[in-house]
């Protein structure tokens, strides 16, 4: 299936209806294929995060269409969009956004429990193996606030992968990390794409990270200025 479009934007414009309407992104045409690793860059306020939210069905376009696996999402109910996010998308944000009441393992298994496709035992095992993949299995029963920043971000990545989504979206995943942890997370994303064949779209202002991706989309003032494949 590699090569077929997984997510497509057609003439997408998003205007924030405020006292003064703010145009976040404008006339975006973008096709992202299965298995691609794409970095989105741009100055702050250029609309790169907004573009990511539109790609991840978190936000709805004011004009234009968002297609997931060739299917136009216009007219989908909020519940339908939520179900797509649950099964097919994984989000990683700048802040880990782990739920403080739950242990590390519980945070990772939450999306699987919600999806309800696996049994309790399988969910537990998959949660543990995901944590093991990121060398944090020993932290499984700790609370998020007992972990370091780098460890937390790895938990967040593990959680994003919980339901084995074909598409992973990251919003400044290294933005809050030191150099060493940045490199670890960066390596993880490269591997998600190269070895596991997932589509990865990452918003970043980290030049190293952006350059590690085979494709880079650069935004200026809400429009795509460059779309480079290496």
């Amino acid at each position: 299936m590699t090569g077929a479009p997984i997510v497509e934007l057609k003439g997408v414009t998003r205007v924030l209806q405020d006292a003064v309407p703010v145009t976040l992104v404008q006339d975006i045409d973008l096709v992202i294929n299965r298995g691609e690793f794409v970095s989105i860059t741009g100055a702050s306020g250029s609309g790169k995060s907004s573009l990511l939210y539109l790609l991840g069905l978190l936000d709805l376009p004011t004009r234009g269409h968002v297609l997931i696996e060739g299917e136009d999402t216009a007219g989908f109910t909020p519940d339908h969009l939520a179900d797509i996010r649950l099964a097919k998308l994984g989000f990683v944000f700048q802040f880990h956004f782990l739920l403080p009441e739950f242990t590390v393992l519980e945070n990772v298994t939450l999306p699987m429990l919600r999806l309800g496709r696996l049994g309790e035992k399988e969910i537990h095992d998959r949660g543990m193996s995901l944590l093991a993949d990121f060398q944090i299995a020993d932290q499984a029963n700790k609370r998020p606030d007992q972990l370091s920043g780098g460890q937390r971000q790895r938990v967040a990545v593990a959680r994003a992968l919980a339901n084995d989504p074909p598409l992973v979206l990251a919003d400044e995943p290294t933005g809050n990390l030191d150099m060493r942890n940045s490199e670890i997370v960066q390596a993880i994303f490269a591997e998600l794409s190269a070895k596991q064949g997932r589509t990865v779209i990452a918003v970043t202002h980290d030049k190293d990270f952006a350059d590690s991706a085979p494709r880079n989309v650069h935004l200026v003032d809400g429009r795509i200025e460059r779309d480079v494949r290496r």
């Binding site: 944000f93 999306p111 919600r114």
Partner: protein
């Protein structure tokens, strides 16, 4: 399975804020507990009082009166005529219920019905140069003891002794003290007809009602007929029926058949029964206020949590949780507080009832102390519990709905 996730998140959040959860739960528990206790006391005392009203007096009294004065014959003949008569006087007729013997017999044939012919009037009781005006009731002691509770209120002597003594009277304690009368003393009874009799005190009662205790005299019907110079006349038919709640209907039927003014106990005590309605409104609004305060507590806490948890809500939504899942998370917290509060409230209510049950009060007019009348029914617990659940769910529903309307992008955009 997915609803278990919502419940799990709700439980985790409640456990995380243990102190606030306990406080809001106790609020609900207090509301339910006091509702159970006050409602038991209120409806218990209402039943108790109604029981007294029903037992103290006949259920139905037929009087030798009419509800509306008879019209002048000229108005019957010319109903539309422009005639006016002044200084007319209604026709005088012999007071008393016609053919009361047959009526009593007819009523008594029905099962559970006790009917008694009585003659009431006024007289003066005189003893040792002091006198007191009194209401005379000529009765049948055999039936009177079933019609009213007077026999239970006897201090000394008994109603039944009227039958064996010649010219006996039974008087109230208040009158006995005022006149200095004791048992077996001979009092002089003077009627408005000018008839004077020497009558023997064969019983003294005390009801606690001053009007009766100082001003009521019981004697045999035939003695009253002689004293009031109304031979063979009865002006009251006093009736007890099997089901007191039917008294109004039966009274209306008797009145339409016989024409005599017929009063049920409900009609006589109408204003008194109206007081219960007001009393209930007061009670339930106070208890309702307690529950409202508890509900505001729940509302406040869950609203605060929703505000604090906006980031968590956003991340759950971005993960793929539906808006309804989020709503459940917070609704479940309200339900949890409501249910636990309800159960604790029931326990508190049971304890309060136990404590109230040991309180003894002295009712004037009764020699022995009395326990508080409590109605320990499923109703109090059911309504209290329902009240708690409904208010807890309603209080949680508003912030839960608000939580479900969070737009994750707004939160995430603000945080990064």
């Amino acid at each position: 399975m997915f609803w278990r996730v919502s419940i799990g998140i709700a439980a985790a959040q409640l456990a995380h804020r243990r102190r606030q959860t306990i406080v809001s739960t106790l609020g609900v528990a207090l509301g339910v507990g006091f509702f159970v206790a006050t409602s038991a006391l209120m409806s218990g005392s209402e039943k108790d009082m109604v029981q007294r009203l029903v037992d103290n007096a006949p259920h139905i009294t037929v009087k030798d009166e009419f509800r509306t004065a008879a019209p002048q014959p000229v108005f019957i003949v010319y109903p539309e005529a422009a005639v006016s008569l002044t200084s007319t006087k209604p026709r005088e007729y012999l007071r008393g219920i016609k053919n009361h013997g047959a009526k009593i017999e007819e009523l008594s044939r029905q099962t559970g019905v006790i009917a008694e012919a009585a003659l009431t009037g006024t007289a003066i009781v005189r003893y040792a140069a002091k006198d007191v005006s009194a209401g005379i009731a000529g009765i049948d002691p055999e039936k009177e003891r079933f019609l009213t509770t007077i026999e239970d209120d006897m201090q000394t002597g008994s109603l039944m002794r009227l039958k064996t003594a010649s010219q006996g009277i039974v008087i109230g304690q208040g009158m006995a003290i005022r006149l200095g009368l004791g048992m077996d003393d001979l009092a002089t009874v003077v009627s408005p007809e000018g008839i004077v009799r020497r009558m023997k005190v064969v019983g003294i009662f005390r009801t606690g009602n001053l009007l009766l205790d100082e001003g009521q005299v019981y004697m045999l019907l035939k003695d009253a007929q002689v004293l009031l110079n109304k031979p063979f006349v009865a002006n009251r038919i006093r009736i007890k029926i099997a089901d007191p709640d039917m008294a109004e209907e039966v009274a209306a039927e008797l009145e339409s058949r016989w024409g005599y003014r017929t009063e049920s106990w409900q009609e006589v005590n109408r204003d008194f029964l109206g007081l219960f309605v007001i009393r209930n409104i007061i009670t339930y609004s106070i208890v309702g206020a307690i529950m409202a305060v508890a509900a505001f507590g729940i509302f406040n806490i869950i609203s605060t949590v929703v505000m604090e948890k906006r980031r968590d809500i956003a991340i759950l939504m971005s993960m793929g949780f539906r808006a309804s899942d989020i709503q459940w998370v917070f609704l479940v917290q309200g339900v949890f507080v409501g249910v636990i509060g309800m159960v604790l409230g029931w326990l508190l209510g049971l304890i309060l009832l136990q404590m109230l049950g040991t309180v003894e009060i002295k009712v004037p007019g009764l020699m022995d102390t009395q326990k508080l009348p409590l109605e320990k029914g499923i109703f109090q617990f059911g309504v209290g519990g329902l009240f708690a659940l409904v208010s807890a769910i309603a209080a949680a529903w508003i912030p839960a709905r608000k939580a479900s309307q969070v737009r994750p992008v707004d939160i995430i955009r603000g945080a990064t």
